[in-house]
């Protein structure tokens, strides 16, 4: 069953189509890697899924509906975006509290997610002083707050140290094994090769490969397959 669907999704900025007629599906209970060169349109496509950007044409659906129609979105979808920020004057815990309030999430859950992303120690410091990886962990904590069944993650490993990356890999696997579905973009192909079940590759906004990783890689490493698809001789 498809939990996320792109239906002829097109998003133009002026004349330039950042996402160009993208049709693809993300299957339930699987980790789908979303790959493409810089500027390929990954973040734009994900922002359309999350209702932050309006498609020029086509649509992006979650469980058959638009994100904006989901009743309690935090409990359905957890998201990490490259553009999200935190109020630098507030602590990590306060930032979580503010988001949790919108979904009526209990304080105990805030402690749980802080623990999950290993940020408990820094939770009472202002986010101004957070390192890149700590901010990324806080973003992950926000995504986890509502214990959602679907995750949309834009370069979640950005800024994480090797321990964090290994932790994230295991963590995503665990979530998928629980039946949750994950759409995750990344540039770290070697790393993602061992994490994802399915892949979606786009270039210049257009889908150029889709399917289970074995079918797309065809015996090559993910990186080799990617390079040959994106830069054919």
């Amino acid at each position: 069953m498809a939990v996320i669907e792109f239906r002829a999704l097109t998003k133009k900025f002026g004349q330039n189509a950042a996402v160009n007629n993208l049709t693809a599906e993300v299957e339930q209970g699987r980790i789908t890697g979303f790959f493409g060169p810089n500027g390929a349109g990954k973040s734009t496509a994900l922002r359309c899924v999350l209702g932050l950007a309006s498609p020029t044409s086509g649509e992006a659906l979650i469980d058959g509906v638009h994100y904006r129609e989901i009743k309690d979105p935090l409990r359905k979808v957890g998201a990490v975006l490259d553009s999200g920020g935190f109020n630098h004057g507030m602590t990590g815990r306060t930032s979580l509290k503010i988001v949790a309030a919108t979904a009526g999430i209990k304080d105990a859950r805030i402690e749980e997610v802080l623990d999950l992303v290993e940020l408990t120690q820094a939770a009472d410091r202002r986010t101004k002083g957070y390192s890149l990886g700590m901010k990324q962990r806080l973003s992950l904590a926000v995504a986890l707050l509502g214990d959602p069944e679907i995750f949309v993650l834009d370069e979640p490993s950005n800024g994480l140290d090797p321990i964090g990356i290994a932790w994230l890999r295991g963590f995503l696997r665990k979530l998928a094994d629980e039946g949750r579905s994950i759409l995750v973009s990344s540039h770290q192909l070697a790393e993602m090769q061992h994490t994802v079940d399915d892949v979606m590759i786009i270039n210049y906004g257009k889908l150029i490969a889709e399917g289970p990783i074995a079918d797309v890689a065809k015996g090559r490493s993910l990186e080799e397959a990617f390079l040959q698809l994106v830069m054919p001789k």
Partner: protein, 262 residues
């Protein structure tokens, strides 16, 4: 909506700017009142101005306690524009994708915040008035209704200006541009228009605010000094101001709020 309002309330409670602006509001209320007894006393000795033995003039001192309303406007602007400045808008609209509900809760919470600013600062203004008047032994006692009237005007101004601010901050997403341009407009452009074209001027926000501040919930005594006839009455002025806020909010909903969130 209740949850969203709680979230907005927490955003204010934990933001340092909110408390900074409160201090500013209080400061302005004190600065607007404390020097007045001296000024009036000094005027009286030089020109025939009336003296502090006149309770109307004493009322005029106390009624200036509600002078900090500009900070309610700034608060309103920050409530929305601040989200874009800190790029917390992404998290906000992910947790509440119906943008109009976000705007609605911000309008309500900002209005409450604006009322809070004004009631607290007006209280400080009363205190500073009382202390400053205390230096003049012959100063009259104020009419008791000046307190309730001033508090009512302060609360009204706080709510309406905060609402106006949220609408402005939604329309102009840049916090700096929104604050600076509304100050320029209120304190320079509008004053010039009012000076040269008073018939138009009285329908502009500053004059409406001045009109609104003259609201009387008790008694009909005039404050004794220059409540100019150039201003509309409190009730129509308040409604026109709310009309401005509604127009800005409608414009914001149809333009700014439709746009993509970065």
């Amino acid at each position: 909506m209740i949850r969203l309002m709680k979230s907005e309330y927490l955003k204010l409670l934990y933001s340092r700017t909110f408390w900074g602006l409160l201090v500013g509001t209080i400061g302005l209320a004190i600065l607007s009142t404390a020097p007045l007894p001296y000024v009036y006393h000094d005027l009286q000795s030089r020109v025939n101005f009336g003296s502090l033995t006149n309770p109307d003039l004493v009322d005029a001192v106390y009624s200036r306690s509600a002078e900090g309303y500009i900070f309610a406007l700034i608060l309103g602007v920050l409530v929305m524009a601040g989200e874009f400045r800190h790029s917390t808008a992404v998290a906000t609209f992910l947790s509440a994708p119906k943008r109009i509900s976000v705007l609605g809760s911000k309008l309500i919470v900002a209005a409450i915040g604006g009322v809070f600013y004004m009631l607290v600062s007006t209280g400080f203004g009363f205190a500073s008035s009382a202390i400053a008047l205390g230096y003049y032994a012959d100063a009259a006692d104020p009419h008791p209704e000046v307190f309730i009237n001033t508090l009512a005007a302060a609360a009204m101004a706080g709510a309406v200006l905060a609402i106006l601010g949220v609408a402005l901050g939604t329309l102009i997403r840049s916090q700096m541009v929104a604050v600076v341009s509304s100050l320029l407009w209120l304190f320079i452009i509008e004053r010039l228009i009012t000076l040269f074209l008073p018939d138009i001027g009285k329908y502009l926000p500053t004059s409406l605010i001045a009109g609104m501040m003259s609201i009387k919930v008790q008694g009909t005594t005039s404050t004794g000094v220059n409540i100019s006839t150039d201003y509309l009455d409190a009730i129509p002025a308040t409604f026109i101001l709310i009309g401005y806020a509604a127009a800005f909010a409608a414009l914001a909903i149809s333009t700014s709020l439709r746009r993509d969130i970065d």
